[in-house]
């Protein structure tokens, strides 16, 4: 029988494949204490405003919210990605070590856990680096980032039309504008606004900020914790998501009988009684009913 999962760490693999010499960036870049990304972007004052807004979008209570998952920490690191080398855009693989290798004969979970390769960083290619320099630092930060500037008047939001300021500038300006909004409301500072006012402020500033911020919050809540958010896997736990499952996966393979069978704790083929199987919360259900009607669909019960 072939060896199923040879236990080799990422760096051992590189050495074995000869790639270590070709990829000299790897050995020094794994900082397990910090997840390999040390830099932060926000000033303390900026971070406070962003955290206050994050708490309005996704408050704590019952299930975890933005602050409880460290989603703003995730954003703070992401905006500073190019302050580290290599930038932590893509983390390694194949395994995080959150599940063990299966026993090669029975398929059952073994007590052998792989190392966390998500702590490593895959260096970006030239094209990937250009793409994310534009995303974070703006179109003007790279050669040819405004190659289609002649079209900016007709299509200002399009790629390579030269007007994208970058996420860092967008966040920095948004903090200024959020504070100014609070002042205009007669409040002493942004923190003094109630949640509804904070959300109104978010809608009042550059719309590109809210688009990016909401996406970044979702990423910080539900991405692998090595990226800085999803603290203690609370995002996955509180919203019923298994997260990464390799190398164990969900189907176990008994090599003796060549039988595939479900993990008893996380079944694939059947209803999982541990999951919420009792429908939607009432206001969600009524919204889905509205959408169904609008699309010309059917409500069956």
């Amino acid at each position: 029988m072939p060896l199923l999962y040879r236990r080799r760490t990422f760096l051992q693999l590189l050495a074995a494949s000869g790639a270590a010499t070709a990829l000299p960036w790897l050995p020094g870049c794994s900082d397990r204490a910090s997840g390999g990304a040390a830099a932060r972007f926000f000033t303390p004052e900026e971070r406070a405003v962003i955290e206050q807004l994050a708490a309005a979008v996704l408050p704590e209570g019952g299930t975890v919210g933005a602050l409880g998952t460290d989603a703003v920490e995730y954003i703070d690191r992401w905006l500073a990605a190019f302050d580290d080398a290599p930038p932590a855009i893509y983390r390694g693989g194949p395994f995080s070590g959150r599940t063990p290798f299966p026993d090669p004969a029975t398929g059952m979970p073994s007590d052998d856990f792989p190392d966390d390769a998500f702590l490593e960083i895959l260096p970006p290619t030239r094209m990937q680096e250009l793409s994310f320099r534009i995303e974070l630092l703006g179109a003007a930060s790279v050669a040819n980032g405004n190659v289609n500037a002649a079209l900016a008047a007709s299509d200002p939001g399009a790629p390579l039309t030269g007007t994208w300021p970058g996420l860092r500038a967008l966040y920095r300006q948004a903090v200024v504008d959020l504070n100014a909004y609070a002042t205009a409301q007669g409040a002493p500072d942004f923190a003094s606004l109630d949640d509804a006012q904070k959300l109104a402020a978010m809608s009042a500033v550059d719309a590109r900020f809210a688009d990016a911020f909401l996406a970044n919050l979702a990423e910080g809540m539900f991405s692998a914790p090595e990226y800085g958010g999803n603290r203690d896997l609370a995002g996955w736990r509180d919203y019923a998501f298994d997260g990464d499952s390799q190398p164990l996966g969900h189907t176990l393979f008994d090599a003796t009988t060549e039988t595939l069978y479900d993990r008893p704790d996380q079944p694939n083929q059947t209803l999982d009684p541990a999951r919420p199987n009792d429908g939607l919360e009432p206001e969600v259900e009524s919204f889905v009913a509205t959408i169904t009607l609008a699309q010309g669909g059917m409500r069956f019960f």
Partner: protein, 587 residues
């Protein structure tokens, strides 16, 4: 020299300097063609625009390759590790010339650019086409506005190549389960794997309506197979590279590399085919090296396998100001086809835990239909799916405007995540000359190269099928126990189709006035140029295309090795593994 390569951005035999063939694109088609050429002793240089995430793909030692993919939604989905990124490589789109130069600059049917190509992000669904699919020109006759045509080969001729592909990439399936499937010369190499909970629920509903659901054939292992472990249903399948190589995404590529006859230059973006004065012979290919500097490579022949959109772009960039290389027919870039998906959404009370399983493990072919039967118009295969991505799920509710406690209710309930089941019909697109790829007259990518412009509008043919089958998708959800069911808006509400199934633009045929490539996918106009991706398809069928892309590419490469006996070449090649290549010199 010995494998593996120790040179950055190169896989395979680094000492090769003279090549019998250049293959542009190391995806499904390019990988298949390269395998046949290399196992028959031809020296092949592959130019691949994307990166490589299979460490040791060219290392003969057991345990290789080691995947750098992972169950990481941020890396693969949000940050698009392997997809073409619109920020630096946008495309443009318009529905018709009435839109002016373009309607949109951004993402249009972007496929992965990576070693393995679209077969890396795919969840490996591998239905075959059927006998009918090769004869729609004859069966449908004249359809106004459309250009249906017979393939210059029939199912029986392609069948051995289907069988070879299934063996090489390792397909699991049940040969007796789909009553509409074409006849097979043998069983699938592996039995079907575990069926997702959502599959069992929707299959029950389908059976209540008298339909014939079956386990979807797919190139994920369900046994130990050619050094690959059985798929363990991690759930990160569609859109993700496989962390344990249970998917056959790069099986052909590895076999090819281990012959020692292949050198893959990756992060190498082809920019121009250079011809001799006659324009009937390609002499070299210019490309940008991994640092963005110009480079070139020469060979006796060239195979285009960059995907129909990028392959067309390259032909047009190779003839600035002209009609495009190989385009005396005027058909290069035309008859572009996607699959017109019709998506039946069901919302159920139970949780489908879509992050377990293969993304799709079941479906049915009843809605593929019959030519000219108004009671059963030609639609497409229907897949059973759900949602497996958590970041994507959260962003849906944010984009609907929910904030605060309301947003948290949606995250907990997850109506469009944990409670959703989808029926995806891969409706056949009528081929239309007006649906096409050309170069945008103004827009450039980050390298200063003109970007492809897609002009595309659906034909009444597929809209008719959509209208006919949509209510049946809703009824199926009702039979399966859904609380709500509706049909998602066209293109899932977006401005453009999003299937990632891309076919046509260099249709094959026997008449040089009516086709771009001949019956072995060689260009009528250019004697040493071949098409080895989905571009030669005259019609697109209603089944997932990649198995057929690979089968056709095997045949094309077999005909390059021996024009009189391509089937024998491929049959022999199947049994050859890395390191045991034929020593036969290149023809």
């Amino acid at each position: 020299m010995a494998l593996p390569s120790r040179v950055p951005n190169v896989l395979g035999e680094t000492s090769l300097e003279r090549f019998d063939a250049i293959v542009i694109g190391f995806g499904a088609g390019g990988g298949a063609a390269t395998r046949v050429l290399a196992t028959n002793g031809l020296k092949v240089c592959v130019l691949e625009a994307g990166n490589n995430y299979f460490l040791g793909l060219d290392d003969p030692a057991p345990g290789n390759p080691v995947s750098l993919f992972s169950n990481d939604e941020l890396k693969l989905s949000a940050r698009e590790l392997i997809r073409q990124q619109a920020r630096v490589e946008p495309r443009t789109f318009r529905e018709s010339e009435a839109d002016g130069p373009r309607r949109l600059i951004g993402e249009v049917q972007n496929l992965p650019k990576t070693v393995g190509g679209g077969w890396v992000h795919a969840d490996m669904k591998t239905p075959r086409f059927t006998e009918l699919d090769f004869r729609l020109g004859t069966l449908l006759g004249d359809v106004p506005g459309a250009s249906f045509a017979d393939w210059p080969l029939d199912y029986a001729e392609l069948e051995p190549y289907y069988a070879a592909t299934e063996r090489l990439i390792g397909v699991a399936g049940d040969a007796s389960a789909d009553p509409f499937a074409a006849p097979r010369s043998g069983p699938y190499p592996m039995p079907p794997g575990a069926r997702m909970y959502v599959d069992s629920v929707l299959a029950d509903g389908a059976r209540k309506l008298g339909l014939n659901p079956y386990p979807y054939p797919g190139a994920q292992t369900t046994r130990f197979y050619r050094d690959r472990p059985p798929c363990n249903d991690c759930g990160f399948c569609s859109g993700y590279g496989c962390p344990i190589n249970a998917k056959g995404s790069v099986a052909m590529q590895r076999d090819a590399l281990l012959t020692g006859n292949v050198q893959v230059r990756y992060n190498a973006i082809a920019t121009r085919l250079v011809t001799d004065a006659s324009r009937r012979r390609v002499t070299s290919v210019e490309y940008l090296d991994p640092d963005g500097n110009p480079a070139s490579v020469s060979a006796d022949r060239v195979l285009l396998a960059a995907s129909p959109i990028e392959s067309t772009r390259l032909l047009l960039m190779s003839d600035p100001g002209g009609p495009g290389l190989g385009n005396s027919s005027g058909l290069v870039g035309r008859n572009l086809m996607f699959h017109h998906q019709t998506i039946g959404v069901g919302i159920y009370r139970q949780d489908f835990h879509g992050e377990r399983g293969k993304s799709v493990s079941g479906g049915f072919s009843d809605f593929r239909g019959v030519p000219n039967d108004p009671e059963r118009p030609l639609g497409g295969v229907v897949e059973f799916g759900t949602n497996s991505e958590k970041i994507v799920d959260a962003m849906q509710y944010m984009s609907l405007g929910f904030r605060g406690e309301a947003l948290k209710s949606y995250l907990r309930s997850s109506p469009f995540g944990r409670h959703i089941a989808v029926l995806i019909m891969q409706g056949e697109d009528a081929p239309q000359p007006t649906n096409r790829v050309d170069l945008d007259p103004d827009v450039k990518d980050i390298n200063g190269l003109p970007v492809p412009r897609i002009t595309y509008a659906p034909h009444p043919f597929e809209i008719t099928a959509r209208m006919f089958y949509a209510p049946k998708l809703i009824a199926l959800h009702g039979a399966a126990g859904a609380q709500f069911a509706f049909v998602a808006p066209n293109y899932d509400g977006g401005p453009t189709p999003t299937t990632s199934h891309i076919m046509g633009t260099m249709r094959m045929g026997n008449d040089p006035a009516l086709s771009v490539t001949d019956r072995f996918c060689r260009f009528h106009d250019v004697d040493n140029l071949y098409s080895a991706d989905g571009a030669p398809f005259p019609t697109g069928s209603g089944y997932n295309p990649t198995l057929t892309i690979q089968a056709l590419a095997l045949r094309t490469a077999g005909a390059i090795v021996d024009p009189l006996r391509p089937e024998a070449v491929v049959e022999k090649s199947v049994t050859l593994r890395g390191g045991r290549a034929s020593s036969k010199p290149a023809a």
